[in-house]
Each structure stands twice: as structure tokens, then as C-alpha cells.
């Protein structure tokens, strides 16, 4: 008589992340594990061979042979894609979060990222003094509310196999988002525009971790007005059933506005001229920049998109 399979219960050793260690050291009760999630960062589902002629046992042969890395202790580097629980098993489509790369929310076509002008001098060099109009993909980081350009990501089923007019299922609708940004470099600001205000209209981060990554949380129809439903007639990156959109601006930190220290430490000297409004330019070597990313994650679905942002400061 054979032995019963006793492999159903698996013991894993966990390591604290740097944030976990920091909270433990703080001793103020902020280190309290309340929930868990499963991650599959190493998995490439493109290896799933559902047409393998040998049968279903061979579909995932390559995936199961995927080598797994040891744990990273940087909390931002682990668990980048999480598994999801959805009560139904019959889903063939899942929503994505996608950058809306058009109009005043488009990436800068020259650099394929968002240029964030960190101070008045840099803004004036590309928009003209007293003028707030900037080309697409260039964001006024000095006073975000004065600029018209912003960032938008859309959530929904991005497939032409389903009509864009159909309603996304309620259990696939993302209603809450994390947005994470390097707090040394910038902050999130409201998407609205008011050319006559000098106020930044910034939001307060929910938390700032040990690596100075600030996390903001926005909910559908909250006062921030960052998360809204995508209207039936709205332009959107989603071609199928639409969910919600996230719109925000980025303001530059005081350090970037007033000092070149971080630009020297983390950044580089510009090697391509930046073209602004009406032919205004900042020449090669006339500015320094820092490349960073802003991460937008759906809290329910765990879907994540990283947006490239370049903080620019004119130096001559």
C-alpha cells in the first residue's frame, strides 16, 4: 500500500522587506501583518502552450520549469504582479490599465515620456513668459494647476471583440487606485486647470516608505476627482467595455525647484534639445534631467502600469 501524498501543506520562510524592518524598528505598532497576496513576477504566460498536441498535461510544462529568484527585500521590487480572486470561472477577458496617449494626455513624442518642468525658469523657456501653453507631453511641474497637460490612464477591456458601448461587469470595475511616485522628486496634483491660480493643489500621500516612495490612494468619485467613470462618448485608450479613468498632474518637489543637487546626483545633462511652444527650445547641454517612473495600480485587480516621467531643469 502506497503512502498518501502529504505535500499539500507547504512551509515557506519569509524575509522582511526594508519597509517591514523600518516599521518593526519604529515599534509603534505599524508593523502588523493583516493580509496576504500571491505574486507571479517570474511567470511568462506566453509560454502557456494551450495548443500542445500532447494534451493538457503539456500546456504548462515550460511555465513549471521557470526558475524562481530569491526574495528581494526592496518592497517596491517584489510582488509587482499579483494573482486575483474573482468568483466566476467563466471569464475570457480581464480589464487592463492603459495609458491614454492622445491630446493633452499624450506622451512627449520626442522623448516618449512625460517631461515635467520643475521650475518657473524652465517653464518660461518653453512656454514663453506668462504663457502656460506647452506642447503635448510637457507638464508644468512648477504650478501644475496652470498647465493644461496631464496624465490619464484608462481601465477596461481593451479588445475589439467586445463593443465599447457594452457595460463592463461590476466585478471587473476598478474603483480604487494606488499611485506611487518618488517623493524626493514630485507630488501628485489635481487634474483641473486654473491659469489664474498660483496654488499647487497637491494631494497628501497616504504613506511614504523608507525609499521615499509616496503612495497616494484615490477612489472613484471621491473629493479628489482623480478617478472617474469613462463616459460613453469620451475619448479613451480602451476600445472595449470601459471602466474608470485616472487623471492627475505632477508637481515638482521643492528640492528640484530650488536646487540642482538631486539633478547632479541622480540626473544627467540633456543631450537632445527640448522643443517648446512656438519654436522655443532649451538647447543641448542647457538642462539637466532625472528619469523616474510613476506607478498606477488597481487595488482590486492588482493590474499595474509604470509611466515614464522625466524631471527637467534648465541650468543655463
Amino acid at each position: 500500500m502506497g503512502f498518501l501524498d502529504n505535500s499539500g501543506d507547504i512551509i515557506l520562510d519569509a524575509v522582511l522587506t526594508d519597509l517591514g524592518r523600518k516599521r518593526l524598528a519604529e515599534g509603534n505598532g505599524s508593523f502588523k501583518i493583516a493580509k496576504f497576496a500571491l505574486g507571479d513576477d517570474e511567470i511568462n504566460y506566453g509560454l502557456y502552450d494551450k495548443n500542445n498536441i500532447s494534451g493538457s498535461a503539456y500546456y504548462d510544462l515550460n511555465i513549471l520549469q521557470t526558475p524562481v529568484l530569491e526574495a528581494f527585500t526592496n518592497n517596491m521590487s517584489s510582488m509587482k504582479s499579483r494573482l486575483m480572486s474573482i468568483a466566476r470561472n467563466d471569464l475570457l477577458y480581464l480589464p487592463v490599465i492603459k495609458l491614454f496617449n492622445e491630446g493633452n494626455t499624450a506622451l512627449n513624442s520626442e522623448f516618449s515620456n512625460y517631461l515635467n518642468l520643475v521650475d518657473r525658469n524652465t517653464v518660461d523657456s518653453l512656454a514663453g513668459t506668462g504663457n502656460n501653453v506647452l506642447p503635448a507631453g510637457i507638464i508644468n511641474g512648477d504650478i501644475p494647476s496652470q498647465g493644461t497637460n496631464l496624465i490619464e490612464v484608462d481601465q477596461g477591456l481593451d479588445t475589439i471583440e467586445l463593443p465599447g458601448t457594452s457595460v463592463i461587469a461590476q466585478d471587473l470595475l476598478e474603483t480604487q487606485y494606488f499611485i506611487q511616485i518618488d517623493n524626493r522628486l514630485g507630488f501628485l496634483a489635481a487634474p483641473g486647470t486654473n491659469a489664474n491660480t498660483n496654488e499647487a493643489l497637491s494631494f497628501t500621500p497616504t504613506s511614504i516608505d523608507d525609499d521615499q516612495i509616496a503612495t497616494y490612494i484615490f477612489t472613484l468619485n471621491d473629493d479628489a476627482n482623480v478617478v472617474t467613470r469613462i463616459g460613453e462618448n469620451d475619448a479613451s485608450a480602451i476600445v472595449g467595455p470601459r471602466g474608470t479613468k485616472v487623471r492627475f498632474k505632477i508637481g515638482s518637489s521643492l528640492d528640484l525647484k530650488t536646487s540642482t543637487f538631486l539633478f547632479t546626483q541622480l540626473g544627467s545633462l540633456g543631450t537632445t534639445a527640448i522643443t517648446g511652444q512656438g519654436g522655443a527650445t532649451i538647447a543641448v547641454g542647457g538642462y539637466r534631467y532625472i528619469d523616474s517612473t510613476v506607478r498606477v495600480s488597481g487595488i482590486s485587480t492588482g493590474y499595474t502600469v509604470d509611466l515614464p516621467v522625466r524631471f527637467v531643469k534648465k541650468t543655463t
Partner: protein
């Protein structure tokens, strides 16, 4: 509603305590000999200008690869009888030796009812009995002893021949705390301690039944388990079975920093001289004399590991989909052809999160684990503190 987190309830975690032991073998060649140049300089021994102790490393201490393994020092009580028998010129570093003894005694033995520092007692009975007034201290680094030395695991092999340069291990003492696992003392302010006893060829019967070295497995020191300190009586080197400062001397000073120490049964009158090395030589010279006679030290250490075990209960309806960008192609699941196909996902990591969704700990699986609606399992994630 889609969700990527699952909340623990009260029954999903438990705290456990485990004791972890490591074997620590220290060979005598590391302690003396391996890192010595022709001039006799020992690069793994660090001495200090104050001269109150010396530190032993497992590699030349100027290297960043070196690990501190223990410190050696010695001292005697101000009330030691032999002090009055030595010539004043031979009182080398006497105040410091007394200070060391008192410092160690007040930490390890404590104070009596009058506030006076107690002396080290050979059997742990502080009310009476024989006191150890002249002792060597081996202070093991925290790196080795960790939370404590495992009781009953300590062995020190000590050569007690007259000269360490020639045949120093001819007469050998094996000093152990063999009774430590079953019998140990708890009347020290520094935690638990055991009685060290000597055996081996260095132990021989001598005249005078009252002498502790005369019987089998005589008492020769104390081992403080949590403090990681071995206290060895200098009597282990006494000729004729007398206490080091109790009358007959233990050694004479040789040339070139060589200190001759007489094993307990060397009755040679030429080696059995006063002044005593204990009073007449520096602390460093005494420590060197001891160090060169250590053949080996071994013990097991103990680490008390408190673990929180989190039971990640993954039901059949949980975590069957993924937010991995490769999971979708134009929003369509790449692992399904028809809606009736079961979804499948593969997990490689478990993240433990705070209530505000911050990642506090992460555990990795050794290989991807398949999850679909026909399976459910419990992953036990252990977090050690």
C-alpha cells in the same frame, strides 16, 4: 468583486518558539600559530595599550574578513593570600588584575548582603566552600555564543605541560561542563551557569585529599551560559595540587615573553618558582600563556527563534487569475480558449501586507505552484524574529 488580497483572521497565525543550535569548533592552531610571522608577531591577536585583555580573531584582525571569536583576560581577588608572598617588584599590573576580577565577579556572581562583591565559588554554593581567587576569563564573542552556550556541550582541551613550546599537550586537561545539561546553577545575576570539571592525563592524584584537583573530575571553573564566559581557575596550572595563590607558585617568567606554566604534577623544583606568573607578569603575558596551551575549544550555541507562522489559506475560488501583463493578450486570457475553460495561474511568491497595503515581508516558492479552481491549499509562511 475582483480582489488581489486576502485578509487573515485571528486563527490564521500562530507564534512558535524554536531553539537552533550551531556547533562551534575552535582549533588551537587558529588561536595560536597559524597567523604568526618569523618574529613571533601574531596577526590575529589584538592587544590594547591599556593591557587589560586581548582579543582573538579567526584571521588577521586588520582584514575585514576577520571575525572576533573571544577575548582573554585574567585577574585575582584583592584578598588572595599569595599577594603578600610576592615581592613588590613582581606586582605587575596588580590594580588592573584586581579590577578585572572584581568587574567580572560583580557581573557574574553579584554582591553579598553587605554590598561587597562576591568571589567566584568553585561549586556555586555562595554561602561557603572554596573560592576561586585567581582565574582566567574566556569571553566568547556574541557572534559565537549567540543567545547562549548550549548546556553540556562545552569542551576545552588545555595543555598543562611546563612549557608551551615543547610538548605542551603532553599533559592534557579536558575541561567540560558535562553535567550542565542536567545540573546547573541559577543564582548568578548573569543567568545560568554550570560547573566545569577536568579530566584527562593532566589530572593525577596528589598528596592532600583536600585539593580539588586530587579527585577524579575535579572542579576547575564555571561556565556562564547566557553571558558566554568561561571562568577557569588558575589552579589548573598549579604544581603539587595547591591553589595558584594559595602558597606554592605556578610558574616563572621566561625570556622573550615566553611564560612557563607548570602543570599540576610537575614537581621539578626549578620550575616551581616564585614569583608567581600570575602576579609577576602582565595580563597579556598571562593570556598568551593560556592561549598557547589551548588545544581546542568546542561548544554548541543556541539561538532562540521566535517565529510567526501565517496560514495562507487559498480556497478553490481564490487566486485563479493573474494581473501579470503576459496573462492577457488584447485583454483576453492567454490560458483560456473558451469561457468554459478553467482559469489557471502560477504563483511564485507570497507577500505579507499591512492593513494599508504595504508589503512588509515576502516569501518565495522554489518553483511555480499551479492554481486553478479544482485545487486549494494552505501555504504556511514563517517569519522569524
Amino acid at each position: 468583486m475582483a480582489t488581489s488580497f486576502k485578509t487573515f483572521d485571528d486563527k490564521d497565525s500562530v507564534v512558535t518558539r524554536n531553539l537552533l543550535h550551531e556547533a562551534i569548533p575552535i582549533t588551537g592552531t587558529i588561536i595560536s600559530g597559524t597567523y604568526t610571522n618569523k618574529a613571533g608577531t601574531e596577526y590575529n591577536i589584538k592587544t590594547y595599550s591599556h593591557g587589560m585583555f586581548e582579543s582573538v580573531y579567526d584571521y588577521p584582525y586588520l582584514s575585514s574578513s576577520a571575525n572576533h571569536i573571544f577575548d582573554l583576560t585574567m585577574g585575582y581577588a584583592a584578598t588572595a593570600a599569595a599577594l603578600s608572598q610576592s615581592a613588590a617588584a613582581d606586582y605587575s599590573m596588580q590594580p588592573k588584575k584586581i579590577n578585572i576580577y572584581n568587574q567580572m565577579a560583580q557581573i557574574l556572581v553579584g554582591f553579598d548582603e553587605n554590598g561587597a562583591v562576591r568571589l567566584f565559588d568553585e561549586d556555586g554554593d555562595l554561602t561557603s566552600g572554596t573560592k576561586m581567587k585567581a582565574v582566567y576569563f574566556i569571553n566568547f564573542a556574541r557572534l559565537l555564543s549567540k543567545d547562549e552556550v548550549k548546556k553540556g556541550s562545552f569542551t576545552l582541551k588545555l595543555g598543562v605541560n611546563s612549557s608551551y613550546e615543547t610538548g605542551s599537550f603532553k599533559q592534557l586537561l579536558t575541561i567540560t561542563d558535562s553535567s550542565g545539561s542536567s545540573g546547573y546553577k541559577v543564582n548568578s545575576p548573569a543567568g545560568e551557569y554550570g560547573i566545569l570539571r577536568a579530566s584527562g592525563s593532566g589530572v593525577m592524584g596528589v598528596a592532600g585529599a583536600a585539593d580539588p584537583l586530587s579527585g577524579s573530575f575535579p572542579k576547575c571553573g564555571l561556565l556562564y551560559y547566557q553571558a558566554g564566559i568561561a571562568v577557569i581557575t588558575a589552579s589548573v596550572f598549579v604544581s603539587g595540587g595547591l591553589r595558584v595563590l594559595g602558597g606554592t607558585g605556578i610558574a616563572n617568567k621566561g625570556l622573550n615573553n615566553q611564560v612557563q606554566v607548570i602543570h599540576p604534577f610537575d614537581s621539578s623544583a626549578t620550575n616551581d618558582l616564585s614569583p608567581l606568573v600570575f602576579t609577576g607578569s602582565t595580563i597579556d603575558a598571562n593570556c598568551n600563556a593560556l592561549r598557547h596551551r589551548i588545544k581546542s575549544i568546542s561548544f554548541n550555541n543556541t539561538v532562540e527563534l521566535n517565529s510567526a507562522v501565517y496560514f495562507c489559506r487559498i480556497n478553490n475560488t481564490d487566486f485563479n487569475y493573474s494581473a501579470n501583463p503576459t496573462y492577457l493578450s488584447a485583454s483576453k486570457l492567454v490560458v483560456k480558449t473558451y469561457p468554459t475553460d478553467l482559469p489557471v495561474s502560477y504563483t511564485t511568491a507570497v507577500g505579507l501586507y499591512s492593513g494599508d497595503n504595504e508589503l512588509l515581508a515576502v516569501a518565495k516558492l522554489s518553483e511555480p505552484l499551479k492554481k486553478d479552481p479544482s485545487t486549494e491549499f494552505t501555504l504556511r509562511v514563517r517569519l522569524d524574529y
